[in-house]
Symmetry: C2
Subunit: 810 residues, 2 copies
């Protein structure tokens, strides 16, 4: 993985890959992807090939396809949506004299790629020897602009290392790039084989534009390119455009010591409304802006944006450089996923790959927005704005399901439900609570009254209405929510899922509170006192099952009475279980795919005593297999809270390394944004112990053994807070003036700017490490210092062991 | 429905239809279908057109198609199976002078069709006036032979009513008849568009044969025809055969008063093993036998078979002629479905239509075999032989699901699971208990030791093993069966479904008992004392949930705590509910599609007290919507047992008229064999109160108000018993010697041949009629005498009412 001449190289501010391994391209195309939340470009080589899975995505741009059912039923969605690989503008092909530059041929003497978290660019240096022995060096850098939303740019430099060489550059816009379909459904494959229908093509000078639309979903997109070429005088160029291809060709003789440098500016846009001429004009205008800013200007803007970001959101881990890199890598990608989405969804994979069909799920609100709320609050607001924009679809879906309020989709690109398996889709109504929770969290953290009035109240009201119609008061008065699915995907259609009921309880109360705060808005949505008090009543009598015999909360009614999964009989290669066991068997047994009750203990920690948390955590540790990437981060948070600091550290590492170590063997399809965000959560809510209920910001920080220091920065109500955690003390400091009351282990501390406030950390309890299912314990991770200390300790103990062993022989 | 000049006509031994209504052809093609359980022919007109849905079926002959899943999962079946419309031999086209005989043109002066339950033939008489005014009379009769399994035959007679006429007869074998597909899946449609691939065609003299195979399932079929023609001397014939068509053409001048009579003999066969020449030989041999027997011989054999059948299985209802007709109609079709299946399944629709893709379900064992066990025991044995033949597939399926024993398919033609929606398919493991129950019932009723040793023990052992691996002992020791689906399809994946647990309990005990009886066989299947005592222990501690607060059994854990369905808000046109409400909503509420707990009270009546039965019946009456045809018959049984005799009669009528009155609006796709059989059950187990546990045959007969007499015959351990029920007494008589101990209201009665034994019937309790969901009460049905009596009573009461009303004015 970090062999000296091949693979990732550790660096605090960069993701660096050394060496060329064509079989690893798919993985690194995801990890090296660039995105601003609107445009996404996978980290393919500029020459176009070799490549794993090319991909250029525009957030929200999808094609529809029929969803097939061998046995259909009422309310099943008829259409699926799949993110489309749009016109590829990354391609710059090169002919070196008469040989195509293709690293599969000849020899690649050096090859290095760097994703720079501070410059926000992907750089690459390759020295290539052609089959006939010509040597050239290529240096490229590219960016998807955070400051100019519709713009991406590539700088391509190539120089001969020996003799004079003729270079022919072909810079393309290529639509309908052939990709092998991953689906087994021929109709889906057909829909995605060549998803773009050409509508317009133009070219002139160094500029070209292509406009396409999708056949079924009726969306239109445009891509345009312009170029600046820095080359010797012999330069000859032509430009041409046909339906699915626009190409600038530049031929030039470059002397030894000379260099050909091409800057390619790209503009992208899409719309469901605008005409082809309007869309063409839109991308050409974006392009003109970019050209005017210029390559250096774009670089400078990008750097400035990221300087601001890291100043208020950086996370530092002193004592584990590789984890430091992974955490910044994760936060950088979370930023890329959300920065400029602007009322579009943040998909589960961001814009880094076609996984999950490009759909957004509940984990965006639960994990990604949890990080963004404190790292880049405006992007969390924007993502909730997307949910607000889809309210009409969610209300219609609720009506279709016989419910009031809004039923948000389990998976979607445009807001319409695309889940074809309702027990793990539509029945997972907790997505509504996740949205409400994200609204409440954002309001707690931002005090953004305008957002509350414009979006927040309506989202809270409509989600609360859903719960009231979904549950019912039984004869005893208790409010039950039957037949729904919680976060754990190895259970489904259960009664009184504790997570769901607690989140619904909070949702109902938050909605009532918001209506009390904004009575005029509430009235506009028809909310009256009868309705809010019905919400409060339901919340107050919400069923929260508890198993008195075992002294733990069952995940849902009856759960703790189910058969145990036989982990001893489950071979290691039978994970993830859902690929090797039927749902029916998983559902009826005590096996947990991902944190469910444990997530409830994080997000609704107020509903559990410390003793319950400790017992529940142990109980579910023994039954949770983490076949989902949405588990380790939450387990880290609760492990840290309960006092299992080393275990928490292992889980933090699992969440953070999910994609760099390809722990789920599917990074080729894109990064796991939820897991990357949950690594941030594991640091801030786990080791920082950060909790934010109402206006209160609480910390209970604890350093895992072996680290020297953890520090993190976060935004909270216009303030920027720096928290530094050391073994025995924590320091809180505001970075930009003012003062803020926070809680440190339950005590109020007023934090100002200067040197900050330092407070002692009480010692953690010493607890036996809980056990996980056989073979499913997280990989033990130890910071460098601890590894060193332990090695020394083991040497000592080894001596003792040997002595003991000698005794019987004496 | 029984208008004088159009529609069904009441007759005790016939289904008779008068008049021509082209829009009704689809309905009557199903009700007039002929079958012997091996060959099925829908009741299309001989001329081929007009037609609704032509269909000729061979039991077990199917085509495969891929089952599509938008979201697949482990263990989902990949291939579906669909019954194929095979080569159509029913067609005899006629040219009358120069006009095709097509009843859509010209005028049909008279048209009558008769399905004769005693002759086992379908007769038809049509007088047709051609567009140019030529008048002809057609008389046809056809049969699918009960005695010659591979044979069908048609007698076609046509006579001119005015002048001499030239007739041209074209008698066809037609393969790949075009039918509109009903599926939404293009791949299924393609697979079934022209399912037969031609392999061989021959013709000579009056004989022809076609051999085809299916493209995917690799099954081969052959059809052959031969003819006898009785015609004037001018007859000219030709015969020819091409890939998908063989045709005998006969042209003849028939003088006024003369007649052209064609007898068409048909032979059918299929095989997954035999070659085309072997299969051709097989059907030609069958044909030679039929020709040698001759038309009159076939008629005589058919009549003889049916004489025997009715002598031991007839059901008589004195006082309700239409119901009498419907009951014989139903029993005749149940006979047709099962008579000569011989180790093939009995599909849900028999061989009367393409509904349910031609699949067999659990209702065959639960309802159809319940009737056949006592009406034609050998056919029940044969149908269980089919299950036995599929044991290897069921064992492999159990392994795939991580279970021991055998997991029989929810729906199948060849024994492999074809259900594409596991919560209502694979999870409905009670199919195994239904098979075990049918085995036990057949053994109780037949004492067939050979069957027990050859099939019974193995079926019981493998189904018992499934239950033991599917359930588990929880910490308290109780044996739970979690996450399965009971009969009610508006619930799914529940814990401790009472029906399932009780049937599993019986299955476990029956298996242990059978192993004790046949220790050598048990040992051959590896059963030892440890295993049988594990079965008995699990059965003894089986969880049977009971709601103490309400004093009723919940259908499954938690059921009685679920929200009530709002029947008041459910419009009448929103039934069946599953077409208008999502599964998730149905599953989590107290709404019942079909008898579930009530079916448990029938099949496991020993597990409930009389008081529990009465309370449970009332409770579930109020929540059962009968969107399934598999409900009314069972509700009739329990209504009768509890004492609601009028309600029981209403339900009996609903079960019996399901297809004649097209109550589910889908009779075009075939008859509901389960419902037709359950009408028999409603009479015998309902009003007869017949129960058969172990060797004991019990009766508690009660006559519904308004009938004069119910009588039924049944086979029991080589005896043929006649039971006659009158208002105050019942008479039991053996029809063929010997003597038999039965129970009459709990008292042993020894029945011999002569005049029988007569015993008094205690008066029924007088109970308030339970209520059903709004609008879902069964149609009230009153026997003729009762209608008459009531009308008289109402006149009296009306007088009284008027008097009372007058009083205030006085």
């Amino acid at each position: 993985m970090t062999t000296p001449d091949q693979g990732y190289v550790c660096h605090p501010w960069e993701l660096r890959w050394r060496g060329l391994d064509v079989t690893q391209l798919e993985r690194t195309e995801s990890t090296f992807a660039l995105s601003n939340g609107h445009i996404g470009m996978r980290g393919t080589l500029e020459e176009g090939e070799p490549r794993g899975l090319p991909g250029t995505y525009l957030n929200g741009f999808y094609e529809e396809h029929p969803l097939p059912y061998a046995e259909g039923a009422y309310g099943y969605p008829e259409s699926g949506q799949t993110v489309v690989n749009v016109t590829d503008g990354k391609i710059i092909r090169v002919l070196v004299q008469d040989e195509p530059l293709d690293v599969r041929y000849g020899e690649t003497a050096t090859h290095e790629r760097v994703l720079d978290f501070r410059s926000g660019t992907l750089r690459r240096t390759t020295e290539w020897h052609s089959p006939s022995g010509r040597r050239v060096r290529i240096h490229t850098e590219r960016l998807v602009s955070f400051t100019q939303r519709a713009v991406a740019a590539i700088r391509y430099e190539i120089e001969p290392l020996d003799d004079d060489v003729q270079f022919v550059i072909q810079s393309d816009l290529l639509a309908n790039e052939p990709i092998e379909p991953e689906t087994g459904d021929p109709r889906v494959a057909v829909a995605l084989e060549a998803p773009l229908v050409a509508e317009f093509a133009s070219s002139k000078d160094y500029r070209a534009a292509l406009v396409h639309r999708t056949a079924r979903s009726g969306l239109r997109m445009a891509a345009a390119m312009d170029h600046e070429i820095d080359a010797p005088d012999s330069l000859e160029t032509t430009i041409e455009a046909e339906e699915d291809l626009a190409r600038l060709t530049a031929a030039v003789d470059v002397p030894r010591g000379g260099c050909l440098a091409v800057t390619k500016f790209l503009g992208y846009g899409w719309s469901s409304q605008r005409s082809a001429p309007a869309l063409r004009a839109q991308v050409e205008a974006a392009l003109a802006g970019a050209v005017q800013t210029g390559w250096q200007g774009l670089l400078a803007e990008q750097q400035g944006f990221l300087d601001d970001f890291w100043a208020s959101a950086d996370v530092e881990i002193d004592g584990d450089p590789e984890l430091q890199q992974a955490l910044r890598f994760g936060l950088f990608h979370v930023l890329q996923a959300g920065a400029r989405g602007e009322s579009r969804a943040i998909p589960g994979k961001g814009l880094t790959g076609p996984g999950y069909d490009g759909h957004a799920f509940w984990d965006t609100e639960t994990f990604v927005l949890q990080a963004l709320t404190y790292a880049l609050p405006g992007s969390a607001r924007d993502a909730l704005g997307w949910r607000h924009a889809t309210l009409d679809k969610a209300r219609a879906r609720a009506r279709q399901l016989g419910l009031r309020g809004a039923a948000f989709p389990w998976r979607s690109i445009n807001g319409a439900e695309c889940s074809a398996y309702w027990p793990a889709g539509t029945a997972a109504f907790h997505v509504g609570a996740a949205i409400a929770d994200a609204v409440t969290r954002y309001l707690n953290a931002s005090d953004d009254i305008e957002f509350e009035r414009q979006y927040g109240v309506e989202l809270l009201v409509e989600t609360a209405r859903l719960w009231l119609s979904l549950g019912h008061h039984e004869a005893t008065g208790e409010f039950r929510i039957d037949g729904v699915t919680g976060p754990d995907e190895y259970s489904a259609v259960s009664d009184n899922n504790v997570y769901t009921n607690l989140m619904a309880q909070q949702n109902l109360r938050s909605a009532a509170d918001a209506c009390d705060r904004q009575p005029d808005i509430a009235a506009a949505f028809g909310v009256d006192g009868t309705e809010t008090s019905a919400w409060r009543t339901a919340a107050d009598v919400m069923v929260i099952p508890y198993d008195e015999r075992l002294g733990v909360h069952p995940q849902a009614d009856e759960f703790t009475r189910y058969a145990e999964w036989s982990f001893a009989d489950t071979p290691a290669d039978h994970y993830p279980l859902m690929l090797n066991y039927p749902y029916f068997d998983l559902y009826r047994k005590q096996v947990v795919k991902q944190a469910d009750l444990v997530l409830a203990m994080h997000l609704r920690g107020d509903a559990f005593s410390d003793e319950q948390k400790a017992r529940n955590f142990d109980y579910y540790e023994a039954r949770t297999v983490r076949d989902s990437s949405l588990s380790a981060g939450t387990q880290a948070v609760l492990a840290a809270e309960v006092g299992h600091l080393r275990l928490a550290y292992d889980y933090l590492a699992e969440a953070a390394f999910i994609d760099l170590h390809d722990l789920h063997h599917n990074v080729r399809n894109g990064l796991h944004m939820g897991s990357l965000a949950s690594a941030w959560i594991a640091v801030v809510a786990g080791f920082g112990g950060m909790r934010n209920r109402g206006g209160e910001l609480r910390f209970s920080p604890r350093l895992p053994p072996g680290l020297d220091r953890i520090a993190f920065r976060m935004c909270f109500r216009h303030a920027h807070l720096l928290v530094e955690v050391r073994e025995a003390e924590a320091t809180y400091r505001l970075l930009d003036g003012g003062s803020l009351d926070i809680y440190h282990f339950g005590d109020v501390v007023t934090v100002g700017e200067k040197d900050g406030v330092t407070a002692p950390i009480p010692p953690a309890p010493s607890l036996p490490r809980p056990s996980q299912p056989a073979g499913r314990a997280p990989i033990r991770r130890e910071p460098e210092r601890r590894r060193r200390d332990r090695a020394a300790g083991e040497r000592e103990r080894d001596g003792a062991v040997q002595e003991t062993r000698k005794a019987p022989q004496a």
